[in-house]
Each structure stands twice: as C-alpha cells, then as structure tokens.
C-alpha cells in the first residue's frame, strides 16, 4: 500500500468512493437493508484510510476544514482535476 503511486492510489479511492456512492443511493430507497448498510460502513472505513494516506503524500482532497494542510497552504497546488493526464 505504501508504495502505491499517486495515480494508483487515486484510482483506488475512486473505486471505493464509487462503491460507497452506489450503496448510498441504494440505501436511500432501501434503508432497512442490513447487508448494504454493513458494506457501506466497511467501505466508508476503507475510504477514510485511503484518503488519509493520499492526503499525507499529495495534499488535501477537501476544502473548508475537512482536510488538514502542510505549510505552505497546499490547496492551491496544481494540477487541478481537469488538468490530470494518466
């Protein structure tokens, strides 16, 4: 995990976030489904770990206090998502 490059780590985050989003929408219309809920919580945990790992190496993913930043303020660092090329 530690050796994962930036793109691989981002891809992993995108995969887990997609799973979480799908389960989220499913739970919106099936709030009593225990299996989906457990899978959602498992995914949320995994995602939090991956994002912490990503942010330590590559800077904040979220603004407005949801991600810490090293000095100097890393939020302004490029590239922005529309500038990435894999």
């Amino acid at each position: 995990m530690e050796k994962m490059c930036k793109n691989d780590l981002m891809r992993k985050i995108q995969e887990y976030e997609f799973t979480a989003l799908e389960l989220n929408l499913y739970l919106d219309t099936h709030p009593d489904n225990v299996e989906a809920l457990m899978e959602y919580n498992r995914c949320a945990n995994e995602l939090a770990q991956l994002k912490t790992m990503y942010e330590m190496k590559h800077g904040p993913l979220l603004n407005f206090g949801f991600s810490p930043s090293q000095y100097p303020w890393k939020w302004v660092d490029e590239p922005w998502p529309w500038e990435l090329q894999e």
Partner: protein
C-alpha cells in the same frame, strides 16, 4: 452545505484534441438533457419532497450530477486544449471562439446557452419524479448518440460510465416514486 473534493468521480483519459467532438459533447454540460440541468432540477425539487427517502435521493443524485458536470467540462477542456483559432473555425466553432475562446460555457451542441426553462419543479412529488425519470432516459439517449459519434476508446469509456449512471438513477427514482405513492396512500387511513 457542499464540500468540493479535488478529484474526478471517474478518470478521464483523452489523448488527442478533437474540436468536432467537443462541439457535440458540450450539450451534456449545458444542453436540454445535460448534467447541469439534471443537478439544478433535483437540487431544486428536493425541498418539496414528502419523505426522507425522496429528499435524500434527490440530494444525493443532484450532488452526483455536479460531479458529472465536472467530468464533461474536463473532457471538453481537454479536447480543446492546444487547438488553434483556425482549427476551431474549421470545425464550425469560429463564433464560439469569438465569444468564449476555449472556455467552458454552459450551452448545447448548437451554442444555445443553458436555461432554467429546461427544468421543472412543481411541488408535486409525483409530477417531479416523473420528470426525473424522463430526464434520466433523455440523458441516456444523448450519451448513446454521442457514443455513435466517436471511436476514441478514452472518450467511449467515460461516456459509457456516464450512460450507466443514468440507468442507475432511473432505477432509484422509480423506487422513490413507489415510496411517495405509498406515503400518499397511507395518509388516506386514520
């Protein structure tokens, strides 16, 4: 409250510029069945939904649509990068270049600016959810038309992802509609 996440929902891989396709694709940003309209439609309608489920679903799908706005904008931005004014003009984007350069502007494939007239919000949850079901199908059809107009594997991959999201949203909106019908029927008994 919304928080921005500095990433795309799904990776976009575009290897070369393509002015012709950018002109078509922009409609999924600011056209009648585009992602901007989808986001504004759901995020406007959610306030007058009757159940927690329907409020949650419109909030969440409306938010996902904003991520799709970003994907489409990114694709158009990449397709137009490093193009010359002449190349834009030859692909029929001379007027576009005059007014907007290579900027991302919410419009359809003919250059018509986005308008709130593309969406409805009626305070009738049955009516609004039927509009949402239709909107997802119209967006799916548009993605299929776009898929017929390119052979680029990177573009096709992202477009297929977005097309599939319309199918999933349609499914969830159908379930929300059933929930609202049940809610309305339950109010008839004391």
């Amino acid at each position: 409250m919304w928080i921005y996440e500095k990433k795309l929902q799904y990776p976009v891989n575009i290897k070369c510029k393509d002015v012709r396709f950018a002109k078509y694709l922009i409609t999924q940003f600011g056209g009648p069945d585009g992602e901007l309209g989808a986001a504004m439609r759901y995020l406007s309608q959610r306030y007058t939904m009757p159940t927690g489920k329907s409020k949650a679903l419109l909030t969440d799908i409306g938010t996902e649509e904003l991520a799709h706005v970003e994907m489409i904008s990114t694709m158009v931005y990449m397709l137009l990068k490093d193009t010359t004014a002449r190349e834009l003009e030859e692909a029929g984007l001379g007027s576009q270049y005059t007014q907007h350069g290579r900027a991302i502007y919410p419009q359809d494939a003919n250059g018509i600016p986005w308008t709130a007239a593309y969406i409805q919000s009626t305070a009738d949850p049955i009516t609004d959810l039927h509009e949402d079901l239709a909107a997802e199908q119209k967006a799916r059809t548009t993605y299929e038309h776009l898929l017929n107009l390119t052979d680029d594997p990177g573009l096709k991959d992202a477009l297929r992802f977005l097309r599939e999201r319309e199918v999933v949203h349609y499914q969830r909106f159908g379930e929300a509609l059933m929930d609202v019908y049940e809610h309305q029927n339950s109010k008839k008994y004391f």
